[in-house]
């Protein structure tokens, strides 16, 4: 089919959504937060993984929302769901028991062992910048078989050591994650950043570059990492979206809320000004 050809025209958010989608296998249970990973999971479900099922920490499982949720408490996530309960149902009965295959997490900082900081830059008690905090990220990262880290890639965000570890990755590498008491067979599987896709060495658990996004180079990625980043021997460009994927992604976000945020922001600002708001 022609729409299985690679798209020529795509944006960085679209590439990242595709990369998220490719991490999900058919039939998997995916615990999802807000933003690009949700679009990635919706894309996976509409393409190669029709039987993946999404759980939301709010209490819903395998929802069939008519529209793209803007949040994990979107009111369209309950009607037609297979299960609707509360946070402790999803966190305990599903996640803590080990029944979640994939959990998406994000953060403001990541270190070379996949530890994540979504709490603060600087000292916790006098932070330079305060971020929202863990939310469910800590718990997803603790218990999901594979956690997938989605990041804005700036040099100050890819650090040797996080200022604060909100969500544990492989801690100090090797087996330290499991020695600390986190369940065997869990941990970060990949980092999908705005510059590339990274994985972790099976032994040392150190992050390495697997693919760099189209238009970038290995060096330009390495320059934006605060440690001596290792690179896969079979390093290559990140696989671009197919035409079908792009069509579906754009269908999911007709207003450009996720995909064209700058433009979108301008529109709302203008409306607010017209209302006498600003």
């Amino acid at each position: 089919m022609s729409d299985q050809k690679y798209a020529k025209d795509f944006t960085l958010p679209e590439l990242m959504i595709t990369a998220c989608a490719r991490e999900i296998k058919d039939g998997e249970r995916v615990l999802i937060g807000v933003g690009l990973p949700l679009l990635g999971a919706m894309l996976a479900k509409r393409t190669h993984a029709p039987n993946c099922k999404m759980a939301y920490e709010t209490g819903s499982f395998d929802s069939m929302p008519s529209r793209t949720p803007f949040s994990v408490v979107d009111p369209d996530l309950v009607p037609r769901a297979l299960f609707a309960g509360q946070l402790t149902d999803i966190m305990a009965l599903f996640l803590q028991r080990g029944f979640i295959d994939v959990g998406f997490v994000g953060g403001a900082q990541v270190d070379k062992y996949g530890n994540l900081n979504s709490t603060c830059f600087g000292d916790y008690f006098k932070p330079d910048v305060r971020f929202p905090g863990s939310g469910g990220a800590h718990d997803f990262g603790a218990f999901a078989r594979r956690s997938l880290i989605v990041m804005v890639h700036e040099k100050r965000r890819f650090v040797e050591k996080c200022d604060y570890v909100t969500t544990p990755g492989y801690l100090r590498g090797g087996n330290t994650r499991y020695e600390e008491g986190l369940p065997e067979g869990t941990g970060p599987a990949a980092v999908i950043s705005t510059r590339g896709v990274f994985r972790f060495s099976p032994e040392t658990k150190e992050m390495y570059l697997e693919t760099y996004h189209p238009g970038l180079t290995v060096d330009s990625v390495k320059e934006n990492v605060n440690w001596d980043l290792k690179v896969s021997p079979i390093i290559r460009e990140t696989e671009p979206p197919t035409e079908e994927q792009i069509r579906i992604i754009r269908d999911l976000d007709p207003e450009g809320f996720f995909l064209r945020r700058g433009e979108y922001n301008k529109k709302i600002k203008a409306q607010a000004e017209n209302m006498g708001w600003l």
């Binding site: 819903s60 009111p75 509360q86 006098k126 932070p127 910048v129 305060r130 863990s134 939310g135 708001w277």
Partner: protein, 322 residues
């Protein structure tokens, strides 16, 4: 003699039950978002509050910005895909509020322990993180690391909490305070029931027979509830299952263009909080400004569950004869 009515205005409820310095759970995730109560707390100028909720949105941001909060116990504070929580962020950066951080699961089990009447709950989460290492104002009472006496596994004990007052917005209640809600409720069951005193605002006051037709929808039995406030649209701009959608435009506008600007934030409070007497006034202002049609557009297309057949057995069906 039936039970006394607990119906009162939000002004009465907050003034009667909430005092400066108290610890409050306020349901502030976007479903069951107790916005009407939070605005009344701001109007009454409550101070030095310790606020607790797992992942609060806009109303925590506003209470922080209005100077009501001294301490926060939470897991996350922002506005989801709509934008960050700037009043929260700035207040923490400036040292105006102290924060005790948990994960969503950790925070919710803290409320669950309080609701269930035990002094702690064990979780297998929070290991290997700064959440477990760094303690703010709760100090040693934040949590403990123990080795399970049965299995030897490392376990985190999360200390329980019983807020002085818990506040929620629900779909309906009767005059005795039997509260019903449905949809996915995040941490609100444990948060509400953990409270020593419970205040609820509701979309509708119904008769007790209506409550009794759906006994599994009762979140809190009336004897736990101190005040019932009839405040339709009390969750706006959050949503409420069956009643209305999130007001996404309003949330986006607040998060992105208001919260991080001192002047605009003050103007926002002046208009939507200080400038009105109650939720009815807030909604009147909304209608004046945006039109009734815009408000009504937030109503859902009905989507009904099937009725559940519990079955009943009249007095003569003892079935003790063959």
């Amino acid at each position: 003699m039936a039970e006394e009515s607990k119906l009162m205005t939000m002004k009465e409820a907050i003034s009667k039950f909430v005092s400066d310095g108290m610890t409050l759970y306020i349901s502030a995730v976007w479903a069951n978002h107790a916005a009407a109560a939070a605005h009344e707390i701001i109007r009454q100028g409550k101070k030095d509050l310790t606020l607790i909720e797992s992942s609060p949105g806009e109303i925590f941001d506003q209470m922080i910005g209005a100077g009501c909060a001294k301490r926060l116990i939470l897991s996350w504070s922002a506005n989801e895909a709509f934008g960050t929580g700037y009043r929260f962020r700035r207040a923490v950066e400036k040292g105006l509020v102290e924060v005790e951080d948990y994960s969503n699961f950790g925070l919710t089990t803290k409320l669950m322990a309080g609701a269930m009447g035990v002094p702690f709950m064990p979780i297998m989460s929070q290991k290997g993180s700064s959440i477990n290492e760094i303690r703010s104002f709760l100090g040693e009472n934040k949590l403990k690391h123990v080795d399970c006496p049965f299995t030897g596994q490392k376990v985190t004990l999360i200390s329980g909490i019983n807020p002085d007052v818990s506040i929620i917005h629900c779909q309906r209640a009767d005059l005795e305070g039997n509260l019903q809600t449905w949809g996915s409720i995040f941490s609100a069951k444990w948060g509400t029931l953990s409270g020593k005193t419970i205040i609820a605002s509701v979309e509708e006051i119904v008769d007790t027979d209506t409550i009794r037709r759906n006994p599994e929808s009762t979140l809190v039995p009336g004897f736990r509830v101190a005040a019932v406030v009839h405040e339709p649209w009390g969750a706006h701009p959050g949503h409420l299952f069956g009643y209305h959608d999130d007001d996404r435009w309003f949330r986006y506008m607040y998060a992105n263009f208001v919260a991080d600007d001192d002047v605009k934030f003050k103007k926002f409070l002046d208009e939507w909080v200080y400038g009105v007497d109650d939720r009815a006034g807030y909604i009147a202002n909304y209608i004046k400004k945006y039109g009734y049609k815009r408000l009504m557009r937030l109503k859902p297309k009905p989507y009904y569950s099937d009725p559940i057949n519990y079955g009943t057995y009249p007095f003569d069906t003892m079935h003790m004869d063959i």
